[in-house]
Symmetry: C2
Subunit: 370 residues, 2 copies
């Protein structure tokens, strides 16, 4: 039988994730599988927790990778904190805010949404008005809106919530490891991310972190978490308990990959990593502008790792992306939702965030769209 894996191209991943994977991470993933209760594996788990704490800038004890992709992280944060009828406010300016609204609504929360136009950031002043009107159990927002390339003011919204009983829930899927995320300083109570963006690890895990008061809320629930797989009270026993109780079989080799990816980031130093994202971004934007392309987001609110750019009039979206993929071995992303067919999303995430790759894409685009 023909083995399709033998013909996989080395594609430069410049879409909205997965990002380019460093060789050390591939190598890590193919280390011998250990049992999920193996004493040595448990030591590796402990190291992963510490490394994630450094990345999230938190002392939260419950800082662990959930056994699913980024969206499982979103599900985890909401399903553990929400009980039927809980008032929840979601700040929405793109697909991932809409997804939060869908997730929370399915769980029976009383969801209010505060919407902002796509391509523009959340405005803290408007949030202030909303939270003065009503006491919410949870306010949730996306840090890096992957569908539009907007950086949202998480720190500012966190400041508005300080001193209140409201839990602050933040999506850092695309931001973690690419720009600053400061869980403790910003007053974040529940946060999730994904491995396939700025961590430059294949998709498959969702790092999450819960503050002590969020843990108190979980432990004090009236109803059981309506999701056995993602019930953090049990997952915590496996990841942080004195006696590591079996819950489900952890994805061992994915965890090796995450461990290695985190080691690489810490070795490079977070400040250097962020600077590398900024400089690759600057190179890309000026390159795109010389081609006459327009960025979707105003300069002050742009994410370095996710660059949304308008597709020029008369240029065929699918055709350009197909030529990039098959003539130049480069992947970029199309638009989602309202932006489908109108916008390209160019990722400079993690290992991909290098000036040479930004230039390689601009050169290819120049040849294709002339």
């Amino acid at each position: 039988m023909n083995n399709m894996l033998n013909a996989i191209d080395d594609v430069l991943l410049m879409g909205p994730g997965p990002s380019y994977i460093p060789p050390e991470v591939y190598e890590a993933m193919s280390k011998k599988t250990l049992g999920h209760l193996d004493p040595y594996f448990i030591e590796i788990m402990d190291e992963i927790k510490k490394l994630l704490q450094q990345l999230f800038k938190t002392t939260n004890n419950l800082t662990v990778p959930v056994s699913g992709t980024g969206s499982a992280g979103m599900e985890t944060c909401f399903v553990n904190l929400i009980e039927k009828g809980d008032p929840v406010l979601i700040l929405i300016n793109g697909v991932f805010g809409v997804r939060m609204q869908d997730v929370a609504t399915r769980l029976g929360a009383a969801v209010d949404a505060l919407e902002f136009p796509w391509g523009t950031p959340v405005i803290p002043e408007n949030v202030k008005g909303k939270i003065e009107e009503k006491a919410y159990k949870i306010v949730a927002m996306v840090h890096a809106e992957t569908s539009t390339g907007v950086k949202n003011p998480v720190q500012e919204v966190g400041a508005l919530l300080k001193g209140s009983d409201t839990l602050f829930l933040v999506d850092t899927v695309t931001s973690l490891g690419g720009i600053e995320v400061s869980v403790d300083d910003w007053g974040i109570d529940a946060v999730y991310s994904g491995t396939q963006k700025c961590l430059s690890c294949p998709p498959g895990l969702a790092p999450v972190s819960f503050s002590d008061r969020a843990v108190d809320v979980i432990m004090g629930r009236k109803s059981k978490v309506p999701n056995w797989y993602l019930d953090m009270s049990m997952v915590a026993n496996y990841w942080t308990g004195k006696k590591r109780a079996y819950h489900h079989t952890a994805p061992i080799n994915m965890l090796y990959a995450l461990y290695q990816a985190l080691l690489l980031i810490i070795a490079e130093d977070l400040d250097n990593v962020w600077r590398r994202h900024e400089s690759a971004h600057a190179t890309l934007v000026s390159g795109l502008e010389t081609l006459g392309l327009d960025m979707v987001v105003e300069p002050g609110y742009r994410l370095p790792m996710l660059n949304a750019v308008y597709i020029p009039e008369g240029v065929d979206d699918g055709d350009v992306r197909k030529r990039l993929r098959f003539d130049y071995n480069i992947e970029i992303g199309g638009g989602l939702g309202d932006f489908a067919g109108k916008v390209w999303r160019i990722g400079l995430m993690g290992h991909t965030a290098r000036e040479k790759y930004a230039n390689r894409l601009v050169d290819a685009l120049k040849k294709i769209i002339r």
Copy 2:
């Protein structure tokens, strides 16, 4: 910084999963990551579906790997089929039946349980009585009860349900790829498995399959599935839709591993694979008996891939397992729940199911317990 991955031992995995991984699967996992909407990756997805259909012996269109470990497969089957108050019957004779009861109860089902002593099989005659008393929406059972080593009569229970409106939901986490699983012939409507048992692939994915009438039930739900991440109506769009709609970022490299693991099984031929499990099992049992150890399960109901054996009087469970792991590089499993401290669980799953490994363990045990 010290990299812990450099000191991982090559442990012979003879616990209840993960199992020993063939070198081809490690290699597959470290192939270059493609995007989750990449045209070539979508072709690989199509092949995975076909291979899973062969393994499950089904023509079900909705036969896909869920992005989580085996327990996420359990969650997927129940959360998609259950709506509040639905009558569900769970057949229980071990930890994984109890887990089903917990999962279904959290989802608001009206759960009845029919229990059988641990170490003994489900008795179809008793099930017959129960389903004549009451019309259930779902009857659920575990094929290979990993906590006890019992093979349950799935085919016989399926026969009792034929012609009724009841959906038949089966856990094949430990059985698939080790003994026959015949989804269509046995009348199974929803089935899940895991990659880390007889498929000999690292943990991280849960193959599932839904019959057309189960799909009709999902599509005809009154309420949305209260789990966005595992909502099969959306997952199906990504895996089986004409236009592959983005749902969540699939765990690309884990899917490479699963593809390769399935290719190996099909190349060896399912009948040969099952025979290999049987002969390794026979070797192990006779070896254990020469050491004076007693099997937990009566001969007719033993699983070849999960061998539960009583820990002899006066022998320290933890001490033996530690010596096996650190002096002989072999992992076996301890008991779960009521069997903790009383039973060892010895896996002969997938790549591990070879007479030479059975002999290696027996030799090591002989030296340790004398």
